[in-house]
Subunit: 354 residues, 2 copies
């Protein structure tokens, strides 16, 4: 029996995407070969890569607006250093809103001057920093649109003329958003996009050639762009599975469609967290993430009973990250609202029997 998968990532994918990916591993489109044993230079794979890039920009509303979509390896963690390699000439600003922002700052500092423009570390990152001044002399301002671990998410972007760069690993393709406000953003695939092992980078072509340093070829956005994401062998299976998922999003109303469903799921779980006297939310209400709902039991002694309730309800992946404790319900695109209802039932059942 299929579990209710609340995993923070790698995360649940639509069942038709999983079935399509498995079928292609056996044989791709009746060509007599498995997806994973064809050349990446074959027409079959070139078509896959082109459609994945095209659908990415189209869904994000960035088609024909001077952006390139790249599918690279290494996850957001490699982007932390690639961002700085390609864009940090004099000084970069970072907003520190959690564990991954902190890591991005650490890596960028290896290559140049980095200032922390704002931080929510003072409250264990339970809010998104606001009301700060952004210096005008920055090469770019980096932020993390959704903080998977702490369950916070940007609703409004900082007001600045400085180029914006973002890690969108855990909320890309989950909502309509001002994507065109960014000069560059990136996202590991393993939340709303596909399996782990591939990273989407969306970058304005005007962002190439911004620095004087020599950039290793694999870390150079312009080289990767000129090679159409095939400077070397790309991760064929992850890219194909992402493509299936981008088609699924397109067929489910695009970002408006999935965004509306995600809003409903988020309301359902947050309403229960606020209503149920046994629970409390971790993140400040105004900054709550529509992707990762973090919450705690007010009384830790009820954890054993609650854990057995949701385990018996066939829920998996609900344990909170060690930095926060408690629980985290990751409610990415592919999670059905029925799974959220099962979780809410468990929370209400705890209230009844406690």
């Amino acid at each position: 029996m299929k579990k209710h998968n609340f995993s923070a990532g790698p995360a649940i994918l639509p069942q038709e995407v999983i079935e399509g990916a498995a079928k292609a591993v056996l044989e791709l489109d009746d060509i007599g070969l498995s997806l994973i044993e064809i050349s990446h230079r074959s027409n079959e794979f070139k078509t896959i890569m082109e459609e994945a890039c095209y659908l990415s920009l189209k869904l994000l509303g960035l088609e024909g607006k001077g952006y390139k979509a790249l599918f690279l390896q290494g996850g957001a963690s490699l982007q932390f250093i690639m961002t700085a390699y390609n864009l940090l000439e004099n000084k970069a600003g970072y907003i520190n809103s959690g564990t991954w922002s902190t890591k991005a700052i650490k890596e960028a500092k290896m290559l140049g001057e980095v200032i922390e423009v704002a931080s929510s570390k003072d409250a264990n990152f339970n809010y998104i920093p606001k009301g700060f001044e952004v210096p005008k002399d920055l090469d770019y301002l980096h932020l993390t649109t959704n903080n998977t671990i702490f369950g916070t998410q940007y609703k409004i972007l900082p007001d600045t003329e400085v180029p914006l760069v973002a890690d969108m690993s855990s909320d890309i393709f989950s909502r309509p958003f001002n994507y065109s406000k960014f000069d560059m953003f990136y996202a590991g695939a393993q939340k709303n996009m596909g399996p782990s092992g591939v990273t989407l980078v969306v970058i304005k072509e005007s962002s190439f050639n911004k620095v004087s340093r020599v950039i290793p070829s694999m870390l150079n956005y312009e080289i990767q762009s000129n090679a159409e994401s095939m400077f070397n062998t790309p991760p064929v299976f992850p890219v194909y599975t992402v493509l299936l998922n981008l088609r699924w999003i397109t067929n489910n109303g695009g970002l408006d469609g999935v965004g509306a469903k995600n809003q409903k799921k988020a309301s359902l779980i947050y309403d229960e967290i606020d209503r149920n006297p046994l629970f409390e939310g971790f993140a400040r209400s105004v900054d709550r993430s529509n992707m990762n709902a973090t919450f705690n039991l007010k009384n830790d002694k009820q954890a054993e009973v609650f854990d057995s309730l949701w385990n018996n309800a066939n829920i998996s992946g609900l344990k909170g990250h060690r930095s926060v404790g408690g629980y985290r319900a990751s409610i990415y695109n592919a999670l059905p609202i029925e799974s959220v209802k099962v979780l809410v039932d468990c929370m209400q059942e705890l209230e009844r029997i406690a």
Copy 2:
């Protein structure tokens, strides 16, 4: 109907590996979740990663000898710069035996002094350089054990006390070899190991901390090693498929077993190239690769007939790389000897009808 897949990479994999990978995408080991939607921190995946690392070292005869096996992203191309980042302090030597060696040299030069100790560029890389002196003051000597494009392969290693580093992307796990002579070697998975999207690095633990520069975390072997290849989210599907393939190699006699079969396949195709008056080999006989047999028609006008012969025989992936032209039969571990026989039949048929 399944094709005879002579692709240079991504390349043919054993049918049972393909079926096992497809099954796990649908559901992993009856756990109620797909392989591609489980957390990489789950016990299921930790066990997969541990077994893949263990089997790698065991098959290579390096278990308990001070080596670590790492599964990273970015392919051999990212290793070109990682090698230099981690090991190049004063001066490194490179043997230039082809396109990929040339690229490795180019990247390493960005970080320090690099000398080309020997090269076979004078003859379009149709041989492995020999009989040269290796300077004693090198941080390491880098070589490419098998040159996929040109069809050459090292049979004997250079005689030197300098630490050896190798790109083994296209012949790792294909034969018994002096793996313990190397301080470090790496290989993209997509030839003998698995699907694209993961790279094996095998490194002596004594090779950590060899340089004074600051190394970005994702490019730091010691950090990746301390994190057991999970500094960030690893490419779950490629790693799992590699594991299935390592089990297949183990169950097929290990490197002795697959090496003997590869030798038979290579003899079959090279014997025909040498016997058949219409063909000639590209690489010098003594340096011929047991993985990629490169050959040409003596008379280009016969290409059309030959191409239709092998196409009709359901062969794919036989076209030579543009740097060499002609044909390249990649005969990796998973290619059955029957496929080689079908190719030899086509060559003999051409001789009959020409």
